[in-house]
Amino acid sequence: MGPAKATDSKRVVLRRSTRRAILIWAFLAPSLLIFLLYRILPLLWNVVLSFEAWSPLKPAVFIGLDNYQEMLFDDDVFWQALWNTFGIIASAPIGIAIALGLALLVHSHIRGREVYRTIIFVSYPLMTVAVAIIWRWMFDERVGLINYAARSLHLVDKPIPFLNSFTWALPSVIAANIWQMLGFYMVIILSGLQTIPGNLYEAAGIDGANAFHRFVRITVPLLKPSLFLCFVIGMLNSVTSFDLIYVMTGGGPGRATEILITYIYKLGFNQTRFDYAAAVTVTFFILLLGITYLANRLSGGNAGAVERE
């Protein structure tokens, strides 16, 4: 092959790859544009707003770190909402543990397992508002099923005001949240279980490993990616479960079920403090980034990466 022919061939390859790149960007452009318009720009504007004093009818004034100072040193509600948010995040592993148990159950050879899978999964596609209304009635002090059952079984003398009690309100909301997510967790874990080769269990059995050891040494390590996925989705779902809390308790009683996302909404739309709400939002965003980074590190550091053959 002469040098001229080689150069031509390179040009053709280059032209082809340029055309290909243009085509790819052309397909990506609408999505990227929407992402830029509806995610990146509002996020950047939100950051700018957090350093300003602004209300819908007044021009913005730069105030530096005043909003952050108020949030960190002068706002008890922020701290209460932050702790409640952590409480809700911490509940994700409980849901995952329950879902793991259920997944193992419906992965075994019990009769009617398909039916059980469907029943467990059905909570997930339900609208969160519907879930919140269902559980609000379930927890109702006067006509709720849970109180009725507890009293019928003589477990309690007086009905428990689940959603009106400082002690019970947050656990009640967490229970509803876990119930809704169970189906999702179960499906993810179930798909993970189905990818574990059966011969590993056979080999372990031959080596004398009992069921517990097989679970701890084979099932759990190989399920790690699925469990991590459940944790990240569950955590994000929990901290953004605005509709569930808004409908079930509205953040009350007092601030017992206030989480950052409900507090941000109230600051913005009830109190018209969009500037301060922006500062809380930035903090919330940093918190989410931090937790996701930590979770990613714990799972080996390459979660979400596409492995090439």
């Binding site: 009818l57 509600v77 005001p161 009106n164 009683p253 601030r255 009830n270 109190q271 403090r273």
Partner: protein, 417 residues
């Protein structure tokens, strides 16, 4: 056809096309938009009103939009920011003050001064509730204030003959009626509707200049303490401090609560749910001291309105004698329009004596309304005060600590403002 002719025809066609939107724009400059709050059920009436208005004002188009309870404030705010606020907006409670103070609403005082006859149509006490810094921002659409509903059957069982005359009575009566599932008292708590309980004990939220908290007094500590103890004992229903609308009204309509402090709109809710309710079993009275908290609806005009005069004319029509009377009759509400309310009460006297008794309370002691302070930061103060008071009422903190914490929180809001 030569090139010049083609160009000429093209230019003429373009000019014709461009001139058409100009005409349309001129027409649409008479377009009025009106946003109402949770009253979509009155569509037929509004349509009649709009038809009459359009007949009197040819070329005016009216666009009507209704938003449900919690949606309206957020919606209106976004419209304000976008510069597309509706010309007329129906606002409830004290939410209007913040928007008036921030320049979103038009001062209607000049319109009322220019049309004194129209201003005279309304109850002056209700009218004065729409004043901020000596300017009137709203015209009453429909009004309601709190009263004390009481369950005569439970009163009879407890040996009580009539409604309570003092705060002491409220507590004592509640204790007398509380047994097993039954509780003695409940109140609605949103929009300061519980404040008559404080006011009847001489407790003020803020100093007269509205600049400092005034509620953290030994008297207030004693009141909160008594309310908390009565709540813990079951004399006062806990839902009083935790529910919003459905829960307390539902509890009272179940027939297991002796008294309920709520606004007149609650009557229609509890009547619809409580089979026990009739003229012999439900009583309607003023709260002790005759104090009440209003939750009124009024029409305001957005300052950004391009047609404020036409907007005011529409408000005039909708709140004037003819349509206010019709609206009050259909909806069984009072409108603060003196003639319309008289007609409504007269028709209810025989038709529905119980509703008549309830609505009658709304026109009594209108000079003793509380909880309707003209505060530009009302929502923020409410949000700072209420959760701390809740802590005290539900026993999470003792009364003294709860009020001290509430004072700190409210002071912070006032200082920031």
């Amino acid at each position: 056809m030569d090139r010049r002719s083609v160009l000429k025809m093209g230019a003429a066609a373009a000019a014709a096309t461009l001139s058409q939107p100009a005409i349309l724009r001129a027409q649409s400059s008479k377009k009025l938009s009106i946003l109402t709050w949770n009253i979509a059920d009155q569509e037929a009436l509004f349509k009649e009103e709009f038809a009459e208005f359009k007949a009197a004002h040819p070329g005016v188009e009216i666009e009507w939009l209704d938003k449900k309870g919690p949606d309206l404030p957020a919606f209106y705010q976004t419209q304000l920011v976008a510069g597309t606020a509706p010309d007329i907006v129906d606002l409830q409670g004290e939410i209007w003050v913040e928007w008036a103070a921030n320049g979103a609403l038009l001062d209607l005082t000049p319109y009322l001064q220019a049309d004194a006859e129209f201003a005279k149509l309304f109850n002056p006490d209700y009218m004065s509730g729409w004043v901020y810094e000596k300017k009137n921002y709203l015209i009453p659409f429909y009004v309601a204030k709190t009263l004390l509903f009481y369950n005569k059957l439970m009163f009879k069982d407890a040996g009580l003959s009539g409604p309570p005359a003092s705060f002491d009575d409220i507590i004592k009566f509640s204790e007398a009626m509380a047994k097993a599932e039954k509780t003695g008292f409940i109140t609605l708590n949103f929009d300061w509707l519980y404040w008559p309980l404080m006011k009847m004990n001489g407790i003020e939220l803020l100093t007269p200049d509205l600049k400092k908290p005034a509620f953290n007094t030994p008297e207030a500590v004693a009141v909160v303490d008594r309310l908390a103890k009565a709540t813990a004992s079951g004399a006062i229903n806990k839902i009083a401090w935790t529910g919003r609308w459905v829960e307390p009204n539902g509890a009272f309509s179940s027939g297991t609560v002796g008294m309920m402090q709520a606004h007149s709109a609650s009557y229609f809710f509890v009547k619809g749910q409580g089979r026990w309710i009739n003229r012999d079993t439900l009583g309607a009275a003023q709260a002790p001291g005759n104090w009440s908290t209003p939750t009124n609806h009024g029409f305001a005009i957005s300052k950004s309105s391009k047609n404020p005069d036409i907007a005011f004319a529409l408000i005039k029509l909708m709140t004037g004698n003819k349509w206010a009377t019709k609206f009050a009759g259909i909806r069984r509400v009072l409108t603060a329009n003196i003639e319309a309310d008289k007609a409504c009460l007269a028709s209810l006297k025989d038709e529905d004596p119980l509703a008549h008794a309830v609505l009658e309370t709304q026109l009594e002691h209108t000079d003793k309304m509380t909880g309707n302070w003209p505060l530009a930061n009302d929502a923020q103060i409410k949000d700072a005060f209420w959760p701390e008071l809740q802590n005290g009422l539900l026993g999470r903190k003792d009364a003294k600590t709860a009020l001290a914490d509430a004072e700190r929180a409210v002071t912070r809001v006032l200082r920031r403002s």
